[in-house]
């Protein structure tokens, strides 16, 4: 079979679905996944299935474990308990080299883009191509320019260092880098955080365009409801463990975006409509305790 230019085509042929059953298999499957850092429980019994081609938005308040869940999906964080399957393969069972090969199938847009400071924009976008393909310098250059055009940036930014770019441009360069290898799974970590409303909408449009142009499954972690409503087919809301009873599930909503406004769970509605609610009472109580010389521990 001739190489189609995609790096995993010659490195992990077995991983690429060849039959209809494999095509119907979910791309990502989390089975009762739990993550603990020291004594802090971040995720508890998360069970989630992401079919191919779906755009899933994971919403929830800051610190509830959204980013940890996403990093667990690609093996950047190891689950303390439970199983994570990518394309039917247990990530925990893979060796470092096998995991590296699988990661070529992921694209990750980090919250602050995580561009390499020491490299130019061009070198940043070319990095995955140079690392994983045997393409010549002109071929790499051609792909870099094409990806840059995909995210609406001119060629003259190629020679700039990330420090010279605005937040929105950095995000777009990060997206171009993540798309360089045409991944099967795109992960967006807070793609619109810290951007003005216009640039946020540009990023939302880019996420939608990416999905149209590439056969990609996407996971978007966000606390921006506008982004969740605009880009997602399905929304999952994760709630902080510290606010849950031991018997309660951590995923408190799982459904299409247009159903979330009519959800019966007040915790979901509180988040969707951005109401402080009982948090304001908690803050008042804590400041009252402090003012009266009480200890919090």
């Amino acid at each position: 079979m001739p190489w189609d230019g995609r790096p995993w085509a010659f490195t992990t042929m077995a991983a690429v679905p060849q039959n209809p059953d494999a095509q119907n298999r979910p791309l990502v499957e989390a089975r009762r996944v739990a993550v603990t850092f020291g004594r802090q429980n971040v995720l508890r019994d998360i069970t989630l299935t992401i079919p191919r081609g779906q755009t899933l938005a994971v919403i929830g308040e800051s610190g509830c474990g959204k980013t940890v869940l996403m990093k667990t999906m690609i093996g950047l964080v190891q689950p303390t308990r439970g199983e994570l399957l990518f394309d039917g393969q247990h990530l925990a069972a893979l060796t470092d080299k096998e995991l590296t090969r699988q990661r070529v199938r992921f694209g990750f847009l980090f919250q602050n883009a995580a561009l390499f400071d020491s490299m130019t924009v061009g070198q940043n976008i070319a990095f995955p191509l140079r690392e994983h393909t045997r393409k010549s310098v002109p071929e790499v250059q051609e792909i870099v320019v094409a990806r840059l055009a995909d995210v609406g940036l001119p060629e003259n930014v190629l020679a700039k260092k990330p420090a010279e770019l605005s937040g929105g441009m950095r995000k777009r360069v990060g997206l171009a880098r993540a798309l360089a290898l045409e991944p099967e799974l795109m992960l967006y970590d807070e793609p619109t955080t810290g951007l003005d409303p216009i640039m946020s909408d540009v990023i939302n449009e880019l996420i939608i365009r990416t999905r149209k142009h590439y056969p990609v499954t996407s996971v978007v972690v966000t606390h921006d409801m506008r982004t969740a409503r605009k880009v997602a087919d399905r929304v999952v809301m994760v709630y902080p463990i510290s606010r849950l009873k031991p018997s309660e599930p951590q995923v408190i909503f799982d459904g299409p975006p247009d159903e979330i406004d009519h959800c019966g769970d007040p915790r979901v509605l509180q988040f969707v409509f951005g109401e402080a609610g009982e948090r304001l009472m908690e803050m008042r109580r804590l400041s009252h305790v402090r003012e009266n010389g009480g200890s919090l521990v």
Binding site: K71, I74, L76, D96, T100, R101, R103, V104, F106, F108, F110, Q111, N112, A114, L115, F116, D117, S118, F127, P128, E131, H132, R177, L181, R285, H288, V289, N292, G294, S295, L296, V297
Partner: protein, 288 residues
């Protein structure tokens, strides 16, 4: 409202509990130390395994070699020169009292070749390069650049730690030789020009005492120093805590740990190499 002002948990005085807490915290610190040591050993093994499986690309090696070797050369040469001159200043008064000024070269050169040259070059490297490596890698950790490398299927140890390790390991012998050379030149320059010590006897006495094995000892020790600096600094950078304070702490601990390791290694390597020397050459040339 009165109930709200009550502290959440009030601890009553209980001596047994205090002792138990102390024992628990000692246990916690011990466990954390053992865990850190284990992680460091795994980090070192991973670095070595990449050395034998796949070497880094040239374009990642050369900038690191330039940073570690070329940019360290002036500072190592300068400190070497002044250390040599200081040794001459400090030793002269003592040797003059016994009328042994011409033996100054033997003592200074022996000290520089076997001990001060390698330790000085390593200390300068730990301060100039080790701290910078820990801070750079720490910043990369904090800004998720190391996660970005992993997410793109590039192994961070192979891409970031191995070039720095190779740079330190391969270039520290050169820096050590430069430190020794400049120290020897500085000491001789001061002794001959300022102290008016006879050059012929100065060099003749040095030649009798300082041999090739001594130079080998200096260079051999420097390899261990270079490897320690790179491994400790990269490890500290990779395990940097969040925020500016975390990066600062990583840089400081990288230098402190590297320096302590250099001194401890120097002692044990010195003892080991002396034993090797006496095993092969039991008849040694006396200093006086």
């Amino acid at each position: 409202m009165a109930a709200d002002t009550t502290p959440a948990i009030e601890r009553s005085f209980n001596p047994l509990r205090i002792i138990a807490d102390d024992v628990a915290s000692i246990g916690g610190v011990t466990m954390a130390g053992i865990e850190a040591l284990g992680e460091f050993v795994l980090f070192t093994l991973s670095t070595f395994s990449w050395l034998f499986t796949r070497l880094p690309r040239r374009d990642t090696l050369i900038p690191n070699f330039y940073q570690i070797g070329v940019l360290s050369l002036p500072v190592v040469a300068l400190t070497g020169t002044f250390i040599g001159m200081v040794l001459a200043v400090q030793s002269y008064a003592q040797f003059r009292g016994f009328g042994l000024e011409t033996r100054l070269g033997a003592v200074i050169n022996m000290t520089l070749v076997r001990e001060l040259g390698p330790v000085l070059a390593a200390t300068m490297l730990a301060g100039r390069v080790g701290g910078a490596m820990a801070a750079e890698l720490g910043t990369m950790r904090v800004t998720e650049q190391i996660d970005a490398l992993s997410s793109m299927g590039a192994n961070p140890i192979h891409y970031l730690a191995v070039p720095r390790f190779l740079g330190c390991l391969m270039l520290i012998p050169t820096l050590t030789i430069m430190a020794i050379f400049m120290g020897v030149v500085g000491a001789f320059g001061y002794s001959a020009a300022i102290l008016h010590i006879d050059s012929h006897h100065y060099w003749e006495n040095s030649r009798k005492v300082v041999g090739n094995f001594d130079l080998f000892c200096g260079v051999f020790k420097s390899l261990f120093f270079g490897a320690s600096i790179a491994l400790i600094s990269c490890y500290r950078g990779f395990h940097c805590e969040a925020g500016a304070e975390g990066v600062g702490r990583a840089a400081t601990t990288a230098f402190v740990h590297s320096f302590v390791t250099i001194i401890v290694l120097d002692l044990f390597l010195g003892i080991g190499l002396d034993n090797v020397y006496y095993y092969f050459w039991p008849e040694t040339q006396p200093l006086f």
